[in-house]
Amino acid sequence: MVETKRQQAGPARETGSMKNEMALEFDAVSSNESFARVAVAAFIAPLNPTVEELSDIKTAVSEAVTNAIIHGYENVYGYGRHGEVRPVYCRIREGKVYLRCRIENGVLHIEVEDRGVGIENLEKAMEPLYTTKPELERSGMGFAFMEAFMDDLEVESQPLKGTIVRMQKKLQCGSWIYGGE
């Protein structure tokens, strides 16, 4: 129903040549994990992604941003002491997370950068179930999910400099859908 209506309303679909970019910079604190997911979801909303695409992308963004916060800057939200009522922020390093998105030719490109500790052994880090923070109950599935939910994953990291995660996903709909002006 909705689909038909849209196609009637004016220049319904661009043929995928549209380009759109955005960049965000935010503090490395865990409350920004949901902010980042929602921002990316809103950015791609005009492309009318499927529920599954949206969920895949939100998960991948959440994994990359969470990694930047808890591994890159080691800023954790948790309990210092057992029995406390509310979790507290434990910020080891102040820092920003940089999130950049681009849609070009129907492909969504996402970059998540931190200027934190970096990764010493990238190959090992990307193995499923591998985690350096088991005490935080990390499952070691972050990179595995990014890989599974996106079409392409590239990680660039330098110890003590930081990490950039680059991901790509071809969107089924691929092109912009105009609101019908």
Partner: protein
């Protein structure tokens, strides 16, 4: 999420998970779950996904952590009302081999 989301029924701790399960929410869920596991000596944990629309690998950590706490005493972990996306995440991480996923 608040205390009402943790309920002890007989030998089961039922946790009604929030809309989004991520790292930011995980400490609160795990800490409170463990408090009940200790205090009420429940042996089984039920994760209720009725309200949950998003979960990342932090959720896997929460479930695995509780599983480790109770499985050595013969307890079981259940996941109920998980939608398609969440089931996918549970299966991809292999959790379906150690917990019971039900409607």
């Amino acid at each position: 999420m608040d205390m009402e989301d943790f309920q002890v029924i007989d030998d089961y701790l039922c946790i009604r998970l929030p809309e989004e399960v991520d790292h930011h929410k995980s400490a609160y869920i795990s800490e409170n779950a463990d408090r009940y596991i200790l205090k009420d000596r429940v042996s089984n944990v039920v994760f209720d996904f009725s309200d949950t629309q998003f979960m990342d690998s932090s959720g896997i950590g929460i479930i695995m952590g509780r599983y480790k706490k109770i499985s050595c005493f013969g307890g079981k972990v259940f996941a109920i009302h998980a939608d398609r996306q969440i089931r996918r995440i549970l299966y991809m991480s292999g959790l379906n081999k150690i917990i019971e996923i039900m409607e």
